[in-house]
């Protein structure tokens, strides 16, 4: 388990030197480190950071559904609650915030972010069911999820035995209509109308 963690994080650190990192990569890397923490705590590995005015991280969160016995404790809601519980900010603050989250938000979180009038959302890998266009550290986000899902979930009502599952390492290339060099801005969803 420990070697897993260090491997992933080293890989991310290496990447930061290898690729020309934008500010978005920098924040997504933070989100990914938090996702790794979720993985190490037997949670679905999703992590996120909220960035104020494109500069400062004011809160972060990761999935805690197993730990809290609550299927709604997703990374985004965890972060929102931690930001508001400090009493340092009111809910207006989200209008100035950008969210970086390793996996595309689910319907619950997406609509919650909309109610909070969040400025922008960047995500790492898409929810495969709803299509995908790729993003920041997409491969790392996918591998972390795959590693999680080959593990057995003791919290499920009838845990599935997954002895025969193997971890796939091949990641399909992104099929995108958006020309390369577009800075992956297809990942920007403007949730506020």
């Amino acid at each position: 388990m420990n070697s897993d963690t260090s491997q992933t994080i080293t890989r991310i650190a290496d990447d930061s030197e290898m690729i020309d990192e934008t500010i978005h990569h920098k924040f997504m890397r933070q989100a990914l480190i938090i996702a790794q923490e979720a993985y190490d705590s037997q949670e679905v590995p999703v992590g996120c950071v909220f960035v104020l005015d494109g500069e400062t991280i004011i809160g972060s969160g990761r999935n805690r559904t197993n730990e809290t016995c609550n299927g709604t404790r997703h990374a985004e809601l965890e972060a929102v609650d931690s930001i508001l519980s400090t009493n340092k900010y009111t809910s207006d603050i989200f209008r100035r915030c950008t969210l970086y989250v390793t996996v595309e938000p689910c319907v619950m979180c997406a609509y919650a972010l909309r109610q909070l009038e969040i400025k922008h959302v960047y995500y790492g890998c898409a929810n495969e069911r709803f299509g995908g266009t790729g993003g920041y550290y997409r491969e790392e986000s996918i591998m972390l999820l795959r590693k999680f899902f080959v593990r057995e979930n003791e919290n499920a009502p009838t845990p599935k035995k997954k002895i025969n599952r193997v971890l796939k390492t091949e990641i399909k290339p992104i099929v995108s209509l958006i020309p390369p060099g577009c800075l992956n801005f297809c990942q920007t969803i403007k949730l506020c109308t």
């Binding site: 730990e67 809290t68 016995c69 609550n70 299927g71 404790r73 519980s85 319907v107 619950m108």
Partner: protein
Amino acid sequence: MEDEKSTIILPFRKVPSDEEERGLETAHRDGTGVKVMSRLSESLDRVKRIRKVTHDQGFTLNVLICLTSSITLDNLKLLIKQHDLESILSLRIHQISKYPPITRVQFEEWNRLWPINFREDPRRDSRFSSKEIELLRNHMIRAIKLADIARSKGEVPVGCIIVDPEKAEIICESHDTRTSSNHPLRHAVLNCINKIAIFEKTKLNSINDSLTPKKRKADKSDDQLIFSSDTLPELNILENRENSASVYLCKGYDIFVTHEPCITCSMALVHSRIGRVFYGRSNNASGGLGSYYKIHTHHALNHHFKTFNGFLEDQIEMLMIDC
């Protein structure tokens, strides 16, 4: 007893899926005047192949051969000629239902066009005895009471309760607290789900503590959740729910909420594996269970549940709110 069930007028309506509400749509099929062997059919599960039409001179058999898309009319005529069936066949195009019927209403309507097969799914059937309805009504009255309490505290007047229908026990009650908590997401439904989780977590910790003498540290995340519950009505969780190991989120529970849950709350109910949802007033602004989306019947999601609306709507109507 059966008779009693079927004649009761329900005080709420089922919120149907799009498939259940679907009107008749047709797909072309070739119908012929007499029976021939079919060689060209693809899946014809949903329709009967032969229809008998009686008239003064006796009867005619109509037979479905295939979809118009599977062969051209000329090729089909050629085939009929090759088999020497021209004299007994009169070829024509007939409309049949494009989809299999899901509800009895659809079956009865679509069947008139061309006979179709129908096997009613008993799980789709929603019958209630008058005793059950009385129980459900009491739960909804309680939810309305909670909405009223919320209003008196200056909150958005939405109330909800979660019930274990097997034991007819109220598991948890809550109302909206987004005003007092200064948190735009403290909706009644999310509050209720969070409270149940806190209770389950506490119970789990106490079980773990009794198994291992080491005391677990209090969870930070739990504190974060609890801060919002101070203002909520008393936790009404029954301490001795048996078979605690089998309790998984809100699996099998009913929720009664005065207003249609918003999209976030609707999806939270999917994540919590709720059993059934009863709500009063529809929410045209952001309702996720009928108005804007039908999240409870969405094919891409991994959990589905029955939803009923319009329950005691008149009483809730006065609590004018769209959230």
